[in-house]
Symmetry: C2
Subunit: 237 residues, 2 copies
Amino acid sequence: MSAEPAATSAVPAACAECPVRDEAICAVLDPAALDRLARAGRHRRVARGETIFAAGDDSIVCATLVEGAAKLSLTDAAGIERIVALVHPAGMLGRLFAPQMRYDAVALTDSRLCVFARAEFETLMADEPALVRAVLDRTLADLDAARELADLIGRREARGRVAGLLLAFARAAGPGCHPLVCFDLPLSRGEIAGLTGLTIETVSRQFSALEAAGLVRRIGARGIELVDPARLRSLTA
Amino acid sequence: MSAEPAATSAVPAACAECPVRDEAICAVLDPAALDRLARAGRHRRVARGETIFAAGDDSIVCATLVEGAAKLSLTDAAGIERIVALVHPAGMLGRLFAPQMRYDAVALTDSRLCVFARAEFETLMADEPALVRAVLDRTLADLDAARELADLIGRREARGRVAGLLLAFARAAGPGCHPLVCFDLPLSRGEIAGLTGLTIETVSRQFSALEAAGLVRRIGARGIELVDPARLRSLTA
DNA sequence: TCGATGCCTTTATCTGGATCAAGCGCATGC
DNA sequence: GCATGCGCTTGATCCAGATAAAGGCATCGA
């Protein structure tokens, strides 16, 4: 693989130093299968705010998020965005076995992807039971996350939704910051609103209130410190 | 494997007349594997309102819903129930590869289940790639449904939530009633409230308003006729 | 240096849905 | 026949959060 010349954006050897090598679906593959998958994959960088694919697009690719963060969302006729999922490193993007994308996928931070042609990926799945199983594990985790989100935004008061979101994000993005109480929330107020079913203003007020109550501390534009996770959790009730 | 040529080449008796035989995960299995699964499963009837398993229970079983309907829900400290999923015939209940149940599963109508010991089911999955694939398909469908629900309750006005729920239910439970515009909604007002994140009173008022506007018609306690699905859909925006 | 732009916050006002409180319809039981 | 209970509806009131409007504070290109 190192014999390949000047292969810049499509380097199978990149698996060796892949940050999500042990967590992504590829982790379960034996070397031969990994090599086959690696040859099918292409690395891609996307900038913060860039659309990876849009709802209604033909579902021709799927991808593993290697680094960064992304959202899946819909924007209704009134222009209100509703986010239905956050994707963290090692998570997958795209719809397997379906003809069209159902949501917009947008990068929340500068990110790196490992992109596969869907057809090719599905062929590989047909040959590799372990890959099917890995995708299943990932999908079950996604399902848990989706139901947790439904539970979160099903509650009636704004306070609990925001508190729950902070805790969920801290948990999901956890490995990024050891104390697990201080992390970067790569979401604008508008995105938090779209995720929680609130408005920007309400989100802003809730943040101010949580800070005033000594439950969290805002650090710069996007930094969050969970000062009192226990009390925060109690708001989640 | 003890040789039973006659038995292994025929569809197990219990499955032969199963109403979800062609839709449930079992549909993909060859006769031998189906026989093995059938031997591992046992039928169970549950009455409307009966709890199938509760959040926190050890995850020792999983099941296919053969007939009826069920809900997955959580009840918070204040006694407010939030429903995170509806399960229709051919759907699965239970958490694979996880030690504990995460939600309460309760029958919405008198129902029939095909129950498996989780460990045994997982063993069978290890031997049957087609079963893993079938479970994956089912899980992907569940994921779509969960995200659709998150989208539904993320919207800000009650009208759209109720309208969207009716359409989603009509679609999901569709095969039950041919015109697809007239069906039985096996949910109490309280359950609809728990599903949409509203209160009983608001749900009731929205139903009255939808009926007054000529979009739906209520038939008896639980019957619903979608008089104007198109206009209903427009409320979903 | 200077707007211009975009995002966040804050204040003021309004409103849709929550809450509180009766009624109503319809079972079931005595 | 009437009481009891339960779920649904309806009305009256209240409030949390939506809406509207303005100001603060970065970054950015000219």
